[in-house]
């Protein structure tokens, strides 16, 4: 819907331009990127490559590693699913309804981006612990919400919510009302319109939000460790296990776990990208 910029269709290393500073800015950017990001990350790859295959597999097959990975990916998945459902409701309310304080609610959604994770961590732990305000009420209902995987999910819901809302919001704002009117005039009820007309158009954005929320949840550390209880095999997340291995100076194990985490995350992002491309082609909606 935006106009295309009138750039030259020709492709060399660089399309000629009258603007100066290309060499300087690109050179500086590449040098800085290499120093800060690429060299350190390739150190991780190099360190992993120097592990022998049996060594690597032994670390991976360690039940503590397997459990930590299972807990990290499992809780992140649960939290991302919760965030998709409630994130869409929150987005719908912010985009479609007019109520006093709408702007404040909209701004509040960004809180997890701005609030340091450690602050969120101790605050959530204080609230959801058995003697906390919410934890006490949940305890009466027999629900233990902290120092177990449920606590991890709560922290990850907090962290992941803005990813879903901020990805879905712009697409929802641009939904064409005429399509909804057409559906209504053709006799669809509201639920049918939402489920069969609006949802398919929103699907790529929802999927992206899910993926971002999930990816963030897998790697999250600061907000989780206070509420998780960190019991090995039960509520110990993979990033924490990396920290523990580092503190034991077991660099090999820390590196191997980190590499596995990165590989699984990248693979999932790739799959989700492919699904998105497919669904964009099918529904003709960008996200």
């Amino acid at each position: 819907m935006n106009g295309f910029s009138a750039s030259s269709p020709r492709w060399r290393l660089k399309t000629p331009s009258v603007l100066p500073g290309f060499g300087l800015t690109l050179g500086f950017s590449l040098a800085y990127l290499t120093l800060i990001i690429l060299i350190p990350l390739s150190g991780l790859v190099w360190r992993t490559a120097s592990l022998s295959a049996p060594e690597f597999l032994a670390i991976l097959a360690d039940p503590r590693t397997l459990n930590a990975l299972k807990i990290s990916f499992g809780t992140a998945l649960a939290a991302a699913l919760i965030n998709v459902v409630f994130g869409c409701v929150v987005t719908w309310v912010i985009v479609r309804y007019d109520f006093p304080g709408r702007r404040i609610v909209d701004a509040l959604v960004d809180l997890p981006f701005a609030l340091p994770t450690a602050v969120a961590g101790i605050s959530l732990a204080a609230l959801y612990a058995p003697n906390g305000w919410i934890g006490h009420i949940l305890g009466l209902a027999g629900i233990k919400a902290a120092f177990n995987p449920t606590g991890i999910v709560i922290a990850l819901v907090f962290i992941g919510l803005p990813f879903v809302v901020r990805t879905v919001q712009p697409v929802m704002e641009e939904l064409d009302r005429e399509v909804e009117e057409a559906a209504a005039t053709l006799g669809a009820n509201r639920l049918q319109t939402i489920g069969r007309i609006l949802l398919p158009g929103l699907a790529p954005a929802i999927l992206t939000g899910f993926a971002l929320s999930f990816a963030r949840g897998v790697g999250e550390y600061g907000s989780v460790i206070f509420i998780a209880g960190n019991i090995p095999y039960v509520s110990e997340i993979a990033p924490l296990l990396i920290v523990i291995r580092l503190e034991e100076f077991n660099y090999a194990a820390a590196t191997a776990i980190a590499t596995i985490m990165l590989c699984i995350s990248f693979a999932m992002l790739l799959v989700i990208n492919l699904i998105q491309t497919w669904s964009r082609r099918r529904y003709g909606h960008g996200a």
């Binding site: 660089k14 950017s29 450690a118 602050v119 509201r190 580092l246 100076f249 980190a258």
Partner: protein, 288 residues
């Protein structure tokens, strides 16, 4: 308005029945209250649980003051570095067409998809005792790990994309027309940037710096891995919060945390004001 029977009967086909509307709003508000509002409020309530005296006493601790000072120092180095990088990268990427541009943009976003703990880990591997670089630097008396340089590096890593990511779509949207006009009128490259580009991007730039700073001051995972947790020396504010909390010194932990929460609130406030007043100028890129 929604209670009015006349409008109810003539409800437009593109909205829900009032009952469904109120139910959805109730669900959304309850969810936001449980997961966002209460945790935010709890920070301040816990900090003042034993009165303002205890709250203020937390800031008399020299270790707390050292942590605040270190956090300010780290942000003061990391944010300008990423600011310069962000502007340079955005100039190259937004103003020129070159091969590998999409790949470069992806690389810039890379730190966002890496766990903070792994961001710290890569520097431990690079400068730790088992590496080539660490012992060599140490023989010259340069400490990176478990010292301020390591903390700065880890912070630069995690806050790397913030400014660039705000500026690239914004500058792409604005195009090259203004700069080309300035150059054709005889302005030098620097004059063009200073008097034409900079005023165009200043609010987007401020927006990016704001987010970058919030993350730099609040980063926990990456910094935790490289800091070594030496009280009074390599403890930033978030790390100090953790230590106080683990010592069951809850009032002091939440007092320091409330300072960080206040920073988050100011960030959100300025961000919202920027979006409100200069929305068109900064939000251009966010709807891609």
């Amino acid at each position: 308005m929604a209670h009015d029977p006349a409008t109810r009967r003539l409800r437009p086909p593109t909205t829900e029945a009032p009952f469904a509307r109120y139910a959805l709003m109730a669900i959304a508000f309850l969810f936001l209250a449980l997961f966002l509002l209460l945790p935010l409020a709890a920070v301040f309530i816990e900090a003042f649980r034993k009165g303002a005296g205890e709250f203020l006493a937390a800031f008399g601790d020299p270790d707390t003051i050292a942590a605040i000072r270190l956090t300010l120092l780290v942000a003061a180095i990391a944010v300008p570095l990423n600011l310069v990088f962000g502007v340079a990268a955005a100039w190259a990427i937004a103003k020129f067409e070159f091969k590998g541009k999409a790949f470069l943009t992806t690389l810039i976003d890379l730190p966002f998809s890496v766990s903070p703990v792994i961001s710290g880990l890569v520097y431990v591997l690079l400068f730790g005792s088992g590496s080539l670089l660490g012992p060599w630097l140490r023989s010259y008396g340069i400490e990176i790990l478990f010292a301020v340089p390591g903390i700065v590096l880890a912070t630069v890593f995690v806050t790397f994309p913030f400014v660039a990511r705000e500026l690239i779509p914004l500058m792409q949207e604005q195009g090259n027309g203004d700069e080309e006009a300035a150059l054709s009128l005889g302005a030098s490259g620097w004059q063009t940037f200073r008097h034409v580009t900079l005023p165009n991007i200043k609010w987007g730039l401020l927006y990016g710096v704001l987010l970058c700073n919030a993350r730099a001051m609040g980063e926990f995972g990456a910094v935790s891995v490289v800091s070594g947790h030496i009280r009074g020396l390599t403890n930033t504010m978030p790390l100090h919060v953790e230590i106080l909390y683990n010592e069951y010194n809850f009032v002091a932990a939440f007092a320091v945390a409330s300072l960080l929460a206040a920073l988050a609130l100011v960030t959100l406030l300025v961000k919202t004001l920027l979006e409100f007043h200069y929305g068109a100028e900064i939000a251009a890129g966010r709807k891609h």
